[in-house]
């Protein structure tokens, strides 16, 4: 069983296999399930992600009314064609937003690694799909690669906003997505790790400060930027750019930052954006009572 990113990459290189394959083999070993069972289970999760994106792109609204409809706006903007960044990046943003808008509306999603950060991995996957035309198997493999890196973060740091802030949720998701994009685009296992490191470095310190305690503001837009961050970091790694701080040390730094983060900024709705005048006003309006 691999315990850190260095061991994961080393395993992939020594066996001359992809990261996704190492994850599949470990899953079979740990659970005693057959390869077919493991792949079928992931395929089911992929289907849930597809359905959430499709639903979100048509437009949903949350019960509080705080979020919904932004995925549609983004898709319409892309169609007009005069965007500034790039089509794949914006498509990833739109599809990440779509997923989290469905989540906020209490729809069905697949946590990757959490529900609050569920948009980043599928958002990037379905955007990159348009560019790389992967097979269904390669799309399933994307999720195993993302899962392998998430597995390391979850065991060595945290994937909980209440324990480690948003860097542990959207930060982890973003790093997982970047690594998976690199593999799908034909990058090496080392490049996957570089992409994860570059991404996570730029998410360090991100706090979890949901307005009214709802997984809506700023969670939906953090997923948007998590997807964009992953896309750019993947391109950087594929260009041959490396992180001066190794991936495992970045993960460890994230863990320690999370530990020293004040409770008010760890999913308690007591600090950050949740404690702004507008955040408080929205909270009072939604729950009908001021809860200062």
């Amino acid at each position: 069983m691999f315990r850190n990113v260095a061991e994961l990459v080393e395993l992939a290189i020594s066996k001359n296999k992809k990261i996704s394959e190492i994850m599949i083999e470990q899953e079979m070993e740990v659970t005693g399930r057959t390869r077919e069972e493991v792949l079928a289970f992931m395929d089911r999760n992929l289907r849930v992600m597809e359905e959430a994106v499709e639903r979100g792109i048509k437009g949903v609204k949350s019960h509080s009314g705080l979020t919904g409809g932004d995925a549609v706006l983004m898709q319409k903007y892309i169609e007009k064609g005069n965007f500034l960044s790039g089509k794949t990046v914006l498509d990833a943003v739109s599809k990440a937003v779509a997923t989290n808008e469905v989540n906020a509306a209490m729809g069905t999603i697949c946590a990757t690694p959490t529900a609050g950060s569920a948009g980043v991995v599928p958002g990037t996957l379905f955007a990159v799909k348009e560019k790389l035309n992967p097979s269904r198997e390669e799309m399933v493999a994307f999720l195993f690669t993302a899962g392998a890196f998430g597995f390391v973060v979850a065991n060595n740091a945290s994937i909980s906003g209440a324990a480690g802030g948003c860097q542990a949720e959207v930060g982890s998701a973003s790093g997982m997505a970047a690594a998976a994009i690199v593999e799908m685009a034909g990058g090496t296992p080392e490049q996957c790790a570089e992409a994860m490191a570059i991404t996570l470095k730029n998410m360090l310190g991100l706090v979890c400060d949901p307005v009214a305690g709802l997984v809506e503001v700023p969670c939906v837009k953090r997923n948007a930027m998590g997807a964009a961050n992953a896309m750019v970091a993947a391109d950087m790694a594929l260009a041959g750019i490396t992180s001066r701080i190794p991936c495992d040390e970045v993960i460890d730094a994230m863990y320690k930052i999370g530990q020293s983060m004040p409770t008010a900024l760890k999913e308690t709705a007591q600090g950050g954006l949740a404690a702004t005048p507008t955040g408080r006003e929205l909270e009072a309006k939604i729950f009908g009572i001021p809860r200062v």
Partner: protein, 220 residues
């Protein structure tokens, strides 16, 4: 390692909006239901830390009740769980606790009916994964990842050996085991995580053993 499967990371499939505060909460409720073995008539739920501060926004209350009604994390009935529970005549009480707990997402669930009650403390550690840390006053550590049996017994020599002998006879492998007691020589609890599902006949045989008072199984 706390997380063992890739599906702890890519998963679970669930009703939004929060894996820790909704899916994890539902799982804590469902473990309580599974241990209680039947639908309770009443439930008192204490929420701590981040659970206490944000449960309304995350639907943590709804999710725990969904779990008590035996709904899985992806069951859409979770959304209406509180209404469903009330329709079935279950009395519900939620308490926002101020006390600081070791883990920010902690819930104490006390459920019961005219035949008995059960008290359980669960923590939601992220991504929908949970651990049970206390059961009826006994400290324990139960991941809910594997089939497990909980054995309430008298704190006497030989009790543990007799239970493991029966499991060995049925070729059941123990993955993790813990013993906890409140006082020397009084009640004790064995928590045994196993690799195989356990048949009813094994449970019955365990219950026949001297000093063994009650055996409950939790299915994966």
């Amino acid at each position: 390692m706390k997380y063992r499967s890739v599906f702890d990371i890519i998963g679970p499939v669930m009703i939004g909006p929060s894996s820790s505060h909704t899916a994890g909460a539902a799982r804590i409720g469902r473990v309580a239901r599974s241990l209680f073995g039947r639908e309770p008539k009443w439930a008192n739920i204490s929420l701590y830390g981040s659970f206490a501060k944000t449960y309304k926004g995350h639907g943590t209350d709804v999710a725990i009740i969904g779990g008590l009604l035996d709904f899985d994390t992806d069951d859409v009935r979770i959304i209406n769980a509180i209404d469903i529970a009330k329709e079935r005549g279950i009395k519900l009480r939620f308490i926002e606790e101020e006390a600081i707990t070791d883990h920010p997402n902690t819930a104490r669930v006390i459920i019961g009916d005219d035949k008995g009650e059960l008290e359980l403390v669960g923590i939601s550690i992220g991504g929908g994964k949970i651990e049970i840390t206390e059961l009826n006053g006994f400290e324990l550590k139960l991941s809910g990842n594997h089939p497990a049996i909980l054995v309430v017994h008298n704190d006497r020599f030989g009790a543990i050996a007799s239970v493991s002998n029966v499991l060995a006879k049925y070729e059941i492998n123990i993955g993790h085991m813990e013993v906890s007691r409140k006082e020397i020589g009084k009640l004790a609890l064995m928590t045994i995580e196993v690799d195989q599902n356990i048949d009813k006949i094994v449970i019955q045989e365990l219950e026949q053993l001297p000093n063994i008072l009650k055996v409950t199984k939790i299915v994966d």
